[in-house]
Amino acid sequence: MKVTLRVWRQESKNTQGAFETHALDQVKPEMSFLEMLDVLNEQLIKAGKRAVEFESDCREGICGTCNMVINGQAHGPVRGATTCQLYLRSFQDGETITIEPFRAKAFPVIRDLVVDRTALDRIIMSGGYISVKTGPHADANANLVPKDLADRAMDAAACIGCGACVAACPNASASLFTSAKITQFSLLPQGQPERKSRVINMVNAMDKEMFGSCSNLGECEAACPKKISIQHIAIMKKEYLFAALSADYREGMGSSETAG
């Protein structure tokens, strides 16, 4: 099959980018989308041109490294899949495919389709953990966790941190990402001691990174390769409100850690 690619090319964060058009006439429907880009890059190098920079790693939809917006959709047209899990059988023969980087103030373009998503790490840094140290702990079965809660926590924990929620959100909000981590821990007994400080600190961190606000449009859930539900966002809002109004929460709690 044949496809025409309109690929975003940009030297660096501070330069202007533009679309570049490439025709590929020998691709196959059973090829993955990234394999098609590999083929394009081999052609470009052979022709002495700079390859299109894009990120990918595990190529099986779990590491969250690959990221691009394909024909206006984060990770392309297939629901519940990452870019690396997208195959050309999802496209028409002769189709023109537009490929853009994830776009958000918080995700500056590094080069071509590669963007800097470390803002998400900084949200986790602010409280996306249970503050236990390595060492002996109570027996793993000492704390029973009802199966349905464990399952719901796992639904939330399935997030791969790819940032598609931000890319797809018309407001560039990171609410789905942030809320998934908050609800994972709010459902589990281990998460209770830091429940309040966690939600406050993580929401503050999210705001500091200049992500937009959530308008309940649900584009994030539609784009999420792990189909994480926006119900987690509702839970985050409830958790934040309770924590913020709670008398036993004091500002600064859990925001700094004394190690050693």
């Binding site: 679309f19 917006v69 024909n71 206006g72 959709q73 984060a74 047209p77 629901r79 537009t98 853009e100 776009r103 958000a104 103030k105 918080a106 719901r152 797809a168 018309p170 407001n171 560039a172 909000s173 609410s175 406050i200 929401v203 503050n204 999210m206 705001d207 200049m210 992500f211 937009g212 606000s213 959530c214 308008s215 309940n216 449009l217 649900g218 584009e219 859930e221 539609a222 784009a223 539900s229 926006i230 119900q231 966002i233 509702a234 839970i235 985050m236 809002k237 409830k238 958790e239 934040y240 409100l241 924590a243 913020a244 109004l245 709670s246 008398a247 929460y249 004091r250 500002e251």
Partner: protein, 233 residues
Amino acid sequence: MVRLTQLIRSSLGYKYLTGLSGLGLGLFVIAHLLGNLTLFQKEGTAFNAYAEKLQALGPVLILMELGIVAVVVLHIWSTVQVTLSKRAARPIGYEVTQSKGGPSKNTAGSRYMIVSGTILLAFLVLHIIQFRFGPGVAEGYVTQLGGDEVRDLHRLVKEVFADPKWVAIYTAVMIFLGFHLRHGYWSMFQSLGLMNPRWSGPIYFGAKALAVLLSLGFIAIPIYLYMVFGGLI
């Protein structure tokens, strides 16, 4: 406790305000329609009596009205904040955008809440001028009610909706109202954190049903009045 200013100025805070003010306005809309159902009485005495009862509240009514204005202002302010943050959060947009569908709630209605909201705001001003500050006792719109002389608001309503132009304008705006409420009612639950897995389906459907019902209810009134008093029935 987190300082209130910090709570409000967080990205979630704006949504709590939008949701809370939306809740107030949403309830007001329901009450307003219930009151207006008295217009289906042809003689107009029920409607005038209802209007008179509100009028009789005196300063309390004014307080209530100012309260609603305050809620409207709050609703607008918080929404504007969200819209501004959205612009700042994505200074360079996409060349192509397309929803992935599925569970997405992204429809023309939800996406353009700011547009339907602006239309509703303009309409609100017009509506208040037209009826709240429209011709009253001084201009001769007087009727007898239980021996007292009161404002004949029913006559004013009747006259306005004898004009097909107004019927058309009101109908159009009420369709926008329907779309606004469709996303608004559901969104309120989501923004205030009242959603849970068990109820999300019913709430999303319930919001749609309520929005359609309210929108149709408001549309039915001018059409009914036009047909009855325009001589069609």
